[in-house]
C-alpha cells in the first residue's frame, strides 16, 4: 500500500511539470509586449519612451527566449516563490494562502452536503424502484443537473437574502464569508456559507443521486445479494453492508472527478456571493491580466485537483480489496 501511494505521488511530478509548461505557454501567447499591454491598461498618463520600455523588459527578463523564461519561473516556483502580483504588489503566495481556507471550506461543505443528501435519496430510490418517491427524485435529479448553477445562485440570493429581508422575514446574508463588522464566529460563518454551499452542492447532488441509484440497482440485481436474502439476512444489512458497500466504489472515482467541477463551480458562485475565495481571486486576476497571479492560482488549483484525484485513488484502493497494487 505504501509503495502504491509513493508510486502515485511520483506520477504527480511529471504531471505538474507538463501542466506548468502548458499554463506558461498559454499565458505567454498573449500578443504584444506585456509591458506595453500593462501601460495600455493602466492609462495614458504613463509616458515611457521606447528605450525605457526596452530597459524594463530586459530587467524583468522579458526579452529572453520562452524556454529560458520558463526555467527562471519554474526555478522560483520550486523554491516556493510564485512571484509578485502585478496589480496589488503582494506576493502571490500570501494572496493564495489567504483565500485558500475560504474556498476549501466552501467546496468541502458543498461536498459533504452533496454526499449527505445523495446517498440516502439514491439508495432509497433504488430500493423502492418505480414508486412515487423514485420518480420524483429522478425527475428532481435530472432537473437538478440541468439548472445553470449561476442562475440558481442568483435566484436563491434574490429570494433568501433580499426578498426575505424586504418582507421582514429572517434572512440570510447577501455575501461575503463573514460579517465585516465584528463577525467571524462559527454561526456567522455558517450563515454566510449556507447559500453558496447549497448552490454549489446542488448540481453535484443531483448527479450523485442518479449515479448511486443506478449503481445500487445494478448491484442489487446480482446473485450474491440473492444469496444473502435467501440466507435470511435482514434487508437493511443486505442493502447497506452488501449492496451499498459495493455500489460506492465507482462513486469514489466519480467524487474524485467532481473535485475539479467543484473548484470550477466555486469560481462562479464566489463571484455571485462576493465570497473571498480562490475562485474570485482567479477571476479578478484574469480580468486584470495579472499574469503572475493567474499562473500562480492556476498552478495551485491544478495541484489541488491532482492531489484530490490521488486521494480518491488511494481511497478506492483501500475500499476495494480486489484492486491490485
Amino acid at each position: 500500500m505504501t509503495r502504491y501511494i509513493i508510486r502515485r505521488l511520483a506520477q504527480v511530478v511529471p504531471l505538474m511539470i507538463f501542466i506548468s509548461m502548458l499554463l506558461f505557454a498559454i499565458a505567454n501567447l498573449v500578443p504584444g509586449s506585456p509591458v506595453r499591454n500593462l501601460i495600455a491598461q493602466l492609462g495614458s498618463h504613463i509616458r515611457l519612451t521606447d528605450a525605457d520600455i526596452a530597459r524594463i523588459e530586459s530587467y524583468f527578463g522579458l526579452d529572453q527566449p520562452l524556454y529560458l523564461r520558463y526555467f527562471t519561473w519554474m526555478g522560483h516556483v520550486l523554491q516556493g516563490d510564485l512571484g509578485i502580483s502585478m496589480i496589488t504588489h503582494q506576493p502571490v503566495n500570501e494572496l493564495i494562502l489567504g483565500r485558500l481556507p475560504n474556498t476549501l471550506l466552501l467546496t468541502g461543505t458543498a461536498f459533504v452536503l452533496a454526499l449527505l443528501f445523495a446517498v440516502p435519496v439514491g439508495v432509497y430510490g433504488a430500493v423502492r424502484r418505480n414508486t412515487w418517491f423514485d420518480h420524483m427524485s429522478t425527475a428532481g435529479a435530472v432537473s437538478g443537473y440541468s439548472i445553470p448553477s449561476f442562475w440558481l445562485a442568483l435566484m436563491l440570493l434574490l429570494l433568501f437574502a433580499i426578498k426575505f429581508e424586504a418582507w421582514g422575514l429572517p434572512s440570510l446574508p447577501a455575501g461575503g464569508a463573514y460579517d465585516l463588522r465584528g463577525g467571524g464566529g462559527f454561526w456567522d460563518r455558517a450563515q454566510h456559507l449556507i447559500l453558496p454551499a447549497f448552490s454549489l452542492a446542488f448540481v453535484q447532488t443531483a448527479l450523485w443521486t442518479r449515479y448511486i441509484r443506478s449503481q445500487m440497482l445494478e448491484v442489487l440485481s446480482q446473485d450474491f445479494i440473492r444469496t444473502a436474502r435467501a440466507k435470511g439476512v435482514r434487508e437493511r444489512i443486505v442493502v447497506f453492508r452488501h449492496g451499498l458497500r459495493n455500489a460506492v466504489l465507482p462513486l469514489i472515482t466519480l467524487m474524485g472527478l467532481a473535485i475539479p467541477e467543484l473548484f470550477g463551480g466555486a469560481l462562479i458562485i464566489e463571484q455571485i456571493y462576493n465570497y473571498p475565495g480562490m475562485g474570485q481571486l482567479t477571476f479578478n486576476a484574469a480580468m486584470q491580466h495579472d499574469y503572475p497571479l493567474i499562473m500562480g492560482t492556476l498552478l495551485f488549483v491544478a495541484f489541488l485537483v491532482i492531489m484530490g484525484n490521488l486521494i480518491a485513488d488511494v481511497a478506492y484502493a483501500i475500499a476495494d480489496p480486489r484492486v491490485r497494487y
Binding site: L15, A27, V142, S146, I147, P148, L154, P260, I268, F283
Partner: protein, 309 residues
C-alpha cells in the same frame, strides 16, 4: 420499457402494406429508435428540443412577424416593460430592447456554439481515441498522458484564462470549448477500441488485407458510434452551460450580441427593477438543457446494450 417492446409488431400505421406490418424492424438502429420512441420522457425532451431549434432557426422570421422588434434597437423610453405590455411579448430590458426577440437570437448563439463545440469535440476526441486504442503501445501511452494533463486543470479555469486573453466571436468560442471537452470521449473511445481490436471480424479484415485506415473507418468507427452518440447526448448540456457561464462572467459572447448568459448578467445589474428579466434567460437555459438531458438519457437507454432494467 423492455426489450420485448422492441420487437412488438407495430400496427398503428395505416398506410403500411399488410406484409410490412408483420415484419418489425430488426436492425440495430430500428430497434434503438423503437425503444427511444417508447420512452415518454425522452420523446418529450425531443419535442422540446426540436421546438427550440426551430425557434432559433426561425428567429429572423419570428422577429419580423411575431414580435415585431429587432435584437439591437434600443428605446430608452420603453425600458422595463412588463410581460405583454405595449406589444413587448416578454417585456423589455434596461435599454428597451425586446426580451423575446433577444431570447430567440440568444437561442441561435447558445445552440449554435454548443452544436459547433460538440462536433469539434467529437472530431478531435474520436480520432484521438481511435488512434490511441488501435495503435496501442507507446502511442497509446503518449496520447493518454496528454489527456490526463488536460483533464487535471478545471475546465472553467482554463476557459477563463483563454477567454480573458482574447475576445472572441461565437465560432472561435465554439472551437475553444470543443478543445476542452473532447478528453472524456477520447477515453471512452479508446476503451471501446481496445476491446474491439481483439474481435474476430477485425482479424478477418486484416487477413483479407484491409489497410489500417480501412479497418479504422469501415469497421471500428461504426462500432464506437453508439458510445459516442450517448456521450454527445449527455455532454451537449454541459457545453451549453459552459458557454452560458462564460458569457455570464462577461467573457464569452459580448454585448450587444445576445446570449442567454450575458442577458442574465445584464439583468442581474438591474434586478431591483425587474425580477422577470433575471428569471427569463435562466429559464431558457434550464428548459433547453433539461430537454437535451432527457433526450441524452433516452439515447443511452436505447443505445447502450449493457443496460437492462
Amino acid at each position: 420499457m423492455s426489450r420485448a417492446e422492441a420487437v412488438h409488431v407495430d400496427t398503428t400505421s395505416d398506410d403500411v402494406p399488410a406484409l410490412e406490418r408483420q415484419r418489425p424492424t430488426r436492425t440495430y438502429l430500428g430497434m434503438a429508435w423503437r425503444s427511444f420512441r417508447a420512452n415518454p420522457t425522452a420523446m418529450a425532451g425531443l419535442v422540446v428540443l426540436v421546438v427550440m431549434v426551430a425557434l432559433a432557426l426561425g428567429a429572423g422570421v419570428l422577429s419580423e412577424y411575431v414580435t415585431g422588434h429587432t435584437t439591437y434597437d434600443q428605446d430608452l423610453s420603453a425600458s422595463f416593460k412588463a410581460i405583454g405590455e405595449d406589444g413587448y411579448l416578454l417585456g423589455s430590458d434596461a435599454y428597451g430592447r425586446d426580451v423575446a426577440t433577444r431570447l430567440l437570437y440568444g437561442a441561435r448563439v447558445s445552440l449554435g456554439v454548443a452544436g459547433l463545440s460538440i462536433i469539434g469535440a467529437m472530431a478531435i476526441g474520436v480520432s484521438w481515441g481511435v488512434a490511441a486504442g488501435y495503435f496501442g503501445g507507446w502511442i497509446d501511452n503518449a496520447l493518454m498522458r496528454v489527456v490526463d494533463v488536460l483533464l487535471a486543470i478545471p475546465t472553467l479555469f482554463m476557459l477563463l484564462l483563454i477567454a480573458s486573453m482574447w475576445t472572441m466571436g461565437p465560432v472561435a468560442l465554439g472551437f475553444i470549448i470543443a478543445s476542452l471537452g473532447w478528453q472524456t470521449v477520447s477515453r471512452l473511445v479508446r476503451g471501446e477500441v481496445l476491446s474491439l481490436r481483439e474481435r474476430d471480424f477485425i482479424e478477418a479484415a486484416r487477413l483479407i488485407g484491409a489497410s489500417d485506415r480501412r479497418i479504422m473507418f469501415r469497421y471500428i468507427l461504426p462500432n464506437v458510434a453508439p458510445t459516442v452518440i450517448v456521450w454527445a447526448g449527455l455532454t451537449v448540456p454541459a457545453l451549453i452551460l459552459w458557454e452560458a457561464s462564460l458569457s455570464y462572467l462577461g467573457l464569452g459572447i459580448q454585448q450587444p450580441t445576445p446570449s442567454w448568459g450575458n442577458m442574465l448578467s445584464d439583468a442581474q445589474l438591474v434586478w431591483s427593477y425587474s425580477a422577470t428579466l433575471v428569471f427569463l434567460p435562466g429559464l431558457a437555459i434550464f428548459v433547453t438543457v433539461f430537454a437535451i438531458n432527457l433526450v441524452g438519457n433516452g439515447l443511452r437507454d436505447a443505445l447502450d446494450p449493457r443496460l437492462s432494467e
